[in-house]
Symmetry: C2
Subunit: 188 residues, 2 copies
């Protein structure tokens, strides 16, 4: 992971798998690695919180013999960009007409509201109909306040969201949109 000045690593060519095979999480992880290597931003996927119930000591070190996945209370990705705190969640839906809200836990929504309150940059990345959108946290929270629906209609995402185009390096250049939305318009 040490080639900040001398990028020897070959990132995958998106033409060979674009929209097929690689999932949104891998696409974002690769994009974040690219941002890291080019020293543009420090953004990581948080490890899934795991409860460990059994460990065993082996010659190779401590090994987990039993554990379980805990429910996350924050969003999946966070980090530092242009001096700002950034946090977001990424979700894919196969639903063609709406994004089901069951995809996001209640305490994650509360957490997102707090991130905005404390002047962090918070948003969702939603892949629907094979298109990836950035939906500002404030638009998402406003939708929830004004609606009692169990899903966000695709029309709302198309209207309010910003399309993240697939590219070469990085695959999903969402930080260009963050620049536009949060640094040029100066509105969080």
């Amino acid at each position: 992971m040490n080639y900040p000045n001398n990028l020897k690593k070959t990132y995958q060519n998106p033409l060979t798998y674009k929209n097929r095979g690689m999932d949104l999480e891998s696409e974002l992880n690769e994009s974040n690695e690219y941002y890291l290597d080019t020293n543009r931003a420090l953004i990581y996927k948080k490890p899934t919180p795991i409860g460990v119930t059994d460990v065993r000591y082996t010659k190779q070190g401590k090994v987990i013999d039993r554990g379980y996945f805990k429910e996350p209370s924050t969003l999946d990705y966070n980090g530092l960009y242009r001096g700002k705190y950034i946090e977001f969640e990424a979700k894919v839906t196969k639903n063609r007409t709406a994004f089901p809200l069951a995809n996001i836990h209640k305490h994650q929504i509360k957490h997102l509201e707090k991130v905005l309150e404390h002047k962090g940059i918070g948003f969702l990345i939603i892949k629907i109909n094979e298109i990836v959108y950035l939906l500002k946290g404030s638009d998402f929270v406003e939708f929830l306040k004004e609606n009692d629906r169990k899903s966000i209609p695709y029309s709302f995402i198309k209207e309010k969201g910003y399309m993240i185009k697939y590219g070469y390096n990085p695959i999903l250049n969402y930080l260009d949109l963050v620049d536009q939305i949060y640094f040029e318009e100066e509105s969080i």
Copy 2:
């Protein structure tokens, strides 16, 4: 975890365990929970990254049958405070004269340097001789550049560090020091 306005939870009385029993990590976790509940900051300990090699599906959900602990490449705690990105590592040493640098991985030091470069707030919390110090990331990095030692002498920590006093709520009120160091002096 939902009593932001109506703090029913009883935080532990530090008098009953102060400096004995409770470890630094628990003290910081409780302090961060207090900051969260009082809506002062959003700071979490990152889950230890775990590699899962075997999962099994049970009636209770997905269960891990084998896994291992990965080496962290970032610092233990991160979050959002007063619109700023904050990240730090907390370490205890039983050594009375120096803080052994083997406690912190090389890539963690690199990461800390990047946090500072990207205008985040980064520091270490070191417990040595039963006293807890906040050592600014910049002071730590400067020490490493100017010295070839395998440990930081206690005298350096006493001179450059800021003592975090034990209190009631929160147990370790390190954010008051962060206010002083990073918001009043305006120097990161």
